[in-house]
Amino acid sequence: MSAPLIEATNLVKLYKMGEETVHALDGVSFTIPHGGYCAIVGPSGSGKSTLMNILGGLDTPTQGRIVIEGADIGALDDEGLAQFRNRTIGFVFQSFNLLPRLTALENVELPMIYAGTSPKERREQAETLLARVGLGERMSHKPTQLSGGQQQRVAIARALAGKPALLLADEPTGALDTHTGQEILALFSQLNREGATVVLVTHDHEVAAATQRTIEMRDGRIVADHASGRSAA
């Protein structure tokens, strides 16, 4: 069997809050294989956001070791982290985070700009990706001209740009109504069936139920790790 995509060993993250030291992560270990579809669930303060930031290369652990696609996150410098975020991770945010000045197409091109991809290749890839998320007809629309669901589809297309190893979504349905949220989850399922590794971070067990595997967190520790659909709470 090949090495897993993510291998986290005994991750600890400490924050100093004034006099107090907060254990945002307190010894977290898990692995996620290539092609997995996994939800990290927990209430606010459980450490799931900290874990997501470390998975996305936005933050580094205080102790422990995490290797994603062969990259040891703790050992990367700023430039290495930037490259890791650019090549290995595709972010999807709760509030979409599209740049309002840019068209849908240009938003999708953005990560490829930082990869140094040629304008022609960028355009072709962005068009393909937008068509893949069902927005082939709205490429030159600005974000304000799109509905919430459409904006999140643009954001997903952007996350897919550059063929990242891991799709990392933070409450991707949090700003959407239930129906639209279902559609977005269905899109993630479809992308997963097509080969993408997807990690969703959410506080919503219903969202987690759409995935294959649920990792439950509380107070900086993993309290349950099981197939989705069976809540331990």
Partner: protein, 410 residues
């Protein structure tokens, strides 16, 4: 690695997205550069004007006048008064001082000149033919008198351009006669125009006549026939000026039996006057440019201010760009380039406006327009520097933002 074209494109897009703000931010630099360019051009114009008019007196020229100099330029009547210089002094300088090209004694007078039903009151200068060489003066029309006409005190005159225009506005003055102090004189030539001297005098308001003619017939018979009011000494080259000045001074001291401090004559070195005047205007130019540079500085502070606001407003965008793979250097370059683009655009527009302003002012004050290309390049480079200096801190703040914090910001 980000492509340069993408970097430029994103900066241009950011600036275009808020055109009014960009224009107002650049305005500070526009005004700064425009005033520096205009003021320096105006100052250089004034400087060129001063140098040109002083040079028009003649180059490599020493002027010896009677009376002692006091301090910088004031002349005080000393022993011997105004009659202390003679033709013999001039002859001695010509014979004994090395490095002298010509020596031209002259006698100055003022008299009414009547011709053609009009009258005019120019300066009358009794001179020898060497005078034209000494003063780098050319004849525009006709001819100058020669040595024998000078010796014979012939009744001939050469008019300055102003006198010729005033007395003979429509006709050729050559061959006409003018009356001076009751005597009539034939006009044999007209001098080329020299314009105003550096001291504001019209050098063309003059009538040149043979030295002996002026002495005997015009300047008054009660004075000694051999005194002169001025001796112009032209050296063979600039290097000789200082040495000739010393030698002439020593020679005249010896001849007049005076000691340093009691001289009854003064040797004026025109090149040192030129230098002093040019230096004065140059200081003036620097002063004007310096004051204007302060407004450029204020423009730079305006850029920094707006860039800081922009970084705060776009915190989320910066966080997102970092999450998508922008390196610190990419963010630094993006914001730095926006600041530099603002200030360089301001610099170019300011340069155009400044040259336009300088052109307006110089034509208003009748000065030559001097815009040195290196000044234009300096203005652009300086505005770019302002952009780098004042854009660096906001760009650095943007680059150093923590992406997690930045993405959390609403």
């Amino acid at each position: 690695m980000m492509r340069t074209s993408d970097l430029v494109g994103s900066a241009a897009r950011a600036l275009r997205s808020n055109p009014l703000r960009s224009a107002l931010t650049a305005l500070g630099v526009i005004i700064g550069v425009a005033s520096v360019v205009a003021m320096v051009a105006l100052g250089s114009g004034a400087q060129a004007q001063v140098e040109r008019s002083i040079a028009s007196l003649g180059s490599n020229l020493l002027i010896v006048v009677p009376g002692a100099a006091r301090g910088g330029g004031g002349v005080r009547g000393a022993a011997g008064g105004w009659d202390s210089l003679t033709l013999d002094d001039a002859a001695a300088i010509a014979a004994q001082v090395e490095g002298v090209l010509v020596v031209a004694p002259s006698q100055r007078s003022r008299a009414q000149v009547i011709a053609n039903g009009a009258n005019w009151n120019p300066q009358i200068e009794g001179v020898t033919p060497a005078y034209l060489t000494a003063r780098d003066w050319e004849i525009a029309q006709g001819r100058f008198f020669d040595e024998s006409e000078e010796r014979q005190a012939r009744r001939v005159v050469v008019l300055g351009a102003t006198v010729a225009n005033e007395l003979f506005p429509n006709i050729d003055p050559i061959g006409e006669t003018v009356r001076i102090n009751g005597g009539s004189y034939e006009i044999i030539g007209v001098l080329e125009s020299k314009g105003q001297s550096g001291f504001g005098m019209d050098q063309d308001d003059i009538v040149l006549a043979p030295f002996t003619t002026v002495k005997r017939r015009i300047s008054g018979r009660n004075r000694r026939a051999d005194t002169v009011s001025q001796i112009s000494v032209k050296t063979v080259s600039e290097e000789y000026l200082t040495r000739v000045e010393e030698d002439v001074t020593n020679l005249l001291r010896q001849r007049h039996r005076t000691r340093e401090g009691e001289d009854d004559f003064t040797v004026q070195n025109l090149s040192s006057i030129t230098e002093a005047a040019a230096q004065t205007t140059q200081v003036f130019t620097y002063l004007l440019g310096g004051i204007s540079a302060v407004s450029l500085l204020v423009g730079g502070i305006g850029i920094m201010n707006i860039m800081l606001v922009s970084v705060t407003e776009r915190t989320r965008e910066i966080g997102l760009r970092k999450a998508l793979g922008a390196r610190q250097a990419d963010i630094l370059h993006q914001f730095g380039l926006e600041a530099v683009a603002l200030s360089v655009a301001g610099g170019i527009i300011g340069l155009v406006l400044g040259v336009l302003g300088a052109w307006l002012m110089t034509s208003l004050f009748n000065l030559p327009l001097v815009v040195a290309p290196q000044n234009a390049i300096m203005a652009i480079a300086f505005s770019g520097l302002v952009g780098v200096l004042f854009g660096a801190y906001p760009a650095w703040r943007a680059a150093k933002l923590d992406p997690i914090e930045a993405l959390r910001r609403e």
